[in-house]
């Protein structure tokens, strides 16, 4: 759009036509106070805090609703404007309680700030204040009416941005009140967006309310550990008796891929960490019972048994199961540990999407994977299967707001009338389980249309032609589309110019687990075992035949050929329905936070730290890699990373070959006697120095493995500076391995909804209290107005 020149307080400002005066001022660092204005929400003009003088206009104007025009001269700071602001604050405080000392917003309250900066020192009001008791609207949302300043941000964010429309306004003028959708309570998605956006302490969070104050916490920006979307969440932590306790989750740092957004899980479901049922000492089975023991004893036992089994029966007698919620570094390390230390390729994880087939389809299309940010900007989006509102809340938010703000065209093909159809340009219902056929049809297999039910063939052909005509289409699909259907879909996409893809995996690091090679037949980067040359050079000797997948491991255990079973942060018995009795003669080691069904049958249980209690990186389902930082701490648990290294050490393996830690000057033989290019550690140092980084000094430093990942896993060579600064970086598919099509039956989607999150959800009080409070019938959808 053409640029417009205006003058604000004597400063020349140039901004595109259509810019609001308040934004134009902001762009040159002039603050115009505001309450009701919020970027990307509809304009309200309710609070009149933003009044400014515009020349040639008779009265003061609200900067949040005034569009700039050529030659406009605005004054934001003269006596008249200052007096107007003062009066606005005084009116707002007319019935505002003197609650700051107990109010949750105290210390980060916009009304406090405004009163301090622009308000008067005293009030002319003498009348008694009108008190109303606080109301509990849901297990996680509380409302303190006298504190509300009627900015309607909550109403707008809930309706416009969340498309839930659970909050409304009752009455008019000075007697207006914010009201929930069910008379005295809320039935909604419980995202807490209204709480976050409330400029004052009127809406407060059930989890955090009255617990502490903002300046009493440390704020750690890390990545949500629940679904695969990778929202950045800021955790407020305080010291507690056993370490650091997480007391609040929010997104005060809006720099993440999620911008303003967090769903209920990212905001409230951190409380599994202090569930009393958490395991906090290593347990060893003695006389049939799991009994507390010491770390030394546990590691010694595990190391001895694993080494024994490996040396006597060979590596094939040991199976390893990794996790969807451990960091990339841990997954990579586990992959390496299994192959190099245990000498087995039998390593697997709960697969929630067909990433190897996706990788295979993406060969030769290095930049065709969409980022989470792309989903907010793309002009057209196709969603086949899945219910993003429930399973990928951030993705749904991106799509919804893209449609609302950028008028993107959304095409939905689904077997259920999912909520996103409300934003869709076209919604096509198909019979259950035919997503694969839909993909095949789009890919050019016209006969597949037979299975697609009601719609006529002309309708389908029309839809396909229309999609082909869309430039820059983003195609989003989940585990309902597997194997060759993925290649068909990618083939279809290739005909659309600039098309990109998102393959949806369900847990926070499902994509990372796949990328790091937790597969019996793939190494990190989807490199088939047969094509192991790079890794062989780096890692040393490893078995060459593909190993067993999870269900084959269970069969082998039942048949007595699997003697050792090592499970890191996963629950294959509970989650994948393996028979626990199959493992009665197998030495089972489980690293987990809780005594899951799998841990209950273990011979040794090691208490592990969760993703909020350690550092590393996560890759979200779009392939955006982000830094995970340590927030909480519970004494007596260890990170999975440390445990894997210690077990390797206990088997007698030289740890430096597993984690390339240490650098020049830390050891007598770091290259001097062997020449600069020989050892692993040497190359590590060379690479580090080339990138201007420090050598890592500890075998438990995940950054040492991150170096190796960046060096060896294709697509992961992102800017380390950006990563460490907390920015999301997109991994590319440049140079990934061949991938391949596997047994589609091995994919077991999580099927979590908005209020469940696998094992973690089971132990989250916040999620459980919301589920218990729910009407058994699903809340009906409210039409947008």
């Amino acid at each position: 759009m053409a640029d417009v020149n205006i003058t604000v307080d004597g400063k020349k400002v140039t901004a595109p036509a259509g810019t609001l005066l308040i934004e134009a001022c902001k762009s040159v660092g002039i603050e115009v106070p505001s309450f009701c204005y919020y970027p990307n929400l509809s304009l309200q003009g309710a609070c009149r805090m933003c009044l400014v003088k515009v020349e040639k206009m008779p009265k003061l104007q609200t900067a949040c609703t005034t569009v700039i025009s050529e030659g406009m001269i605005a004054i934001t700071n003269n006596d008249e404007v200052r007096q107007a602001r003062k009066s606005m604050v005084e009116l707002l405080l007319g019935n505002h309680p003197l609650d700051c000392p107990v109010c949750d917003a105290g210390g980060e309250c916009e009304l406090q700030d405004m009163t301090f900066s622009y308000g008067a020192a005293e009030s002319k009001f003498m009348e008694a204040k009108n008190h109303k008791d606080e109301q509990q609207w849901s297990p996680v949302v509380y409302f303190d009416r006298p504190r509300c300043i009627l900015c309607y941000r909550c109403v707008r964010v809930c309706g416009e941005a969340m498309d839930v429309w659970a909050l409304g306004v009752q009455n008019r003028g000075v007697v207006s009140v914010i009201a929930p959708n069910k008379e005295d309570h809320l039935e909604c998605e419980e995202c807490g967006m209204c709480i976050d956006i409330c400029p004052v302490g009127a809406l407060t969070s059930g989890a955090y309310r009255y617990k502490t104050r903002p300046w009493e916490m440390n704020h750690v920006g890390t990545i949500c550990t629940h679904c695969g979307d990778g929202c950045k969440t800021t955790l407020g932590v305080r010291r507690s008796d056993s370490g650091m306790q997480i007391v609040r989750g929010d997104n005060r740092d809006k720099s993440g891929i999620n911008g303003d957004f967090l769903c209920i899980k990212g905001r409230y479901a951190f409380d599994f960490a202090d569930d009393p049922q958490r395991v906090t000492t290593p347990l060893i089975r003695r006389d049939g019972q799991l009994a507390p023991s010491t770390w030394e004893e546990a590691f010694e036992l595990i190391g001895k048994r694993f080494a024994e089994i490996r040396d006597k029966e060979g590596g094939r007698a040991i199976g390893v199961v990794g996790s969807n919620r451990t960091t990339n570094e841990e997954n990579y390390l586990l992959s390496k540990f299994a192959r190099v230390v245990l000498k087995t390729n039998s390593i697997d994880h709960r697969r929630t999407a067909d990433f190897p087939a996706f990788a295979a389809a993406m060969v030769g299309k290095p930049h065709a994977a969409a980022t989470m940010r792309d989903v907010f900007n793309a002009p057209a989006i196709l969603v086949i299967g899945n219910n993003p509102t429930e399973q990928h809340p951030l993705l749904a938010w991106q799509i919804r707001n893209n449609v609302r703000l950028h008028r993107a065209r959304l095409y939905v093909i689904n077997s259920r009338p999912i909520k996103l159809r409300r934003q869709a340009t076209s919604f096509t219902e198909i019979p259950q389980g035919t997503e694969g056929q839909a993909a095949a049809f789009l890919g050019g297999d016209d006969s597949a249309a037979e299975a697609l039910g009601s719609g006529s063939r002309e309708m389908w052909v029309g839809l396909r032609d229309k999609l082909r005509g869309e430039g820059k289409l983003i195609i989003i699909f989940d585990s309902a589309i597997r194997g060759k259907d993925i290649s068909a879909l990618v083939k279809f996409g290739s005909a659309v110019s600039g098309a990109k893809f998102v393959c949806l995996g369900d847990y926070s690091n499902s994509r990372g687990a796949a990328d790091m090679g937790l597969y019996p037949d793939f190494l990190p980067g989807y490199r088939p075992i047969a094509d192991a040359s790079t890794f062989k050079d780096e890692w040393g000797d490893m078995p060459t035949a593909p190993g067993l997948n999870v269900s084959q491991m269970a069969e082998a255990a039942a048949a007595g050929t699997l003697k050792g079973f090592y499970v890191v942060g996963s629950n294959p018995v509970g989650g994948l329905g393996l028979d626990p009795f199959a493992f009665s003669n197998t030495f089972v080691v489980v690293q987990d936070m809780f005594l899951t069904e799998t841990a209950q049958m273990a011979d040794v249980v090691l208490p592990s730290a969760n993703a909020y209690e350690k550092a590393g990186t996560f890759t979200n389902t779009c392939g955006d890699i982000q830094l995970v930082k340590k927030a909480g701490e519970v004494s007596d648990v260890k990170s999975d990373f440390e445990m894997i290294v210690r077990i390797a050490d206990a088997t007698g393996f030289e740890v430096r070959k597993l984690v390339p830690f240490g650098g020049r000057g830390t050891s007598a033989d770091m290259g001097q006697s062997r020449g600069a290019q020989s050892g692993e550690a040497d190359r590590h140092v060379v690479w580090l120095e080339a990138h201007g980084l420090e050598p890592k000094m500890s075998p438990f430093d995940p950054m040492a493995i991150l170096d190796e990942i960046q060096r060896l896993v294709p697509g992961y060579d992102v800017s380390r500076m950006n990563l460490l600064a907390g920015n999301d970086q997109h991994t590319t598919t440049v140079g990934t391995g061949q991938g391949g099509v596997q047994d589609a039956k091995l994919i077991a989607p999580a099927n979590d909804n908005l209020f469940t999150s696998g094992t973690l959800g089971r132990y989250s009080r916040a999620l459980n209290s919301v589920i218990e409070n729910r009407n058994p019938e699903p809340a009906e959808e409210v039409a947008a107005d």
């Binding site: 000392p101 107990v102 309310r209 009493e216």
Partner: protein
Amino acid sequence: MPILKDIAAIAKGMSITFREMFAPTVVENYPDGPGPLKGAKVEPRYRGVHVLQRDENGLEKCVACFLCAAACPSNCIFIEAAENTNELRVSGAERYAKVYNIDYNRCIFCGYCVEACPTDAITHGHGFQNASFNASNLIYRKEQLLAAVPAHLGANAIFNRADVEGGAAAVPVPGS
């Protein structure tokens, strides 16, 4: 004569010494004096060990706003907040301090906390005999800092006397 000058100077000095030797002592006879303070006299505005005050109903004045902790330059106040309920009403506002510790290893008795307190809950008392051989004894807990329930409320003081006449269950003032 310089020597006479010197003698005069010494005599002058010694005269002060001898005069003070027989003057009444102005130093407190602490710790051998009478009374609970063992002879120490404390000025009204002396800043000693803190006292957490109660209101006229016997409820704690502290509402756990953490402002004292924020103001404290030596970072020695640790608070954990909790919400008042109908069954357990500890302070007059929505929340109260479940834990309130002051670490006297670190406190410099500057009085900033008293200055910061919006409810006049924390004040400096006159306690000064807090030397200890064990540093961990110097972390005073809320129970050690809290003022006694006002005598006129007596034992078993209840907070909601007016409601009890209407049939409500009595809510005792904690600590009474």
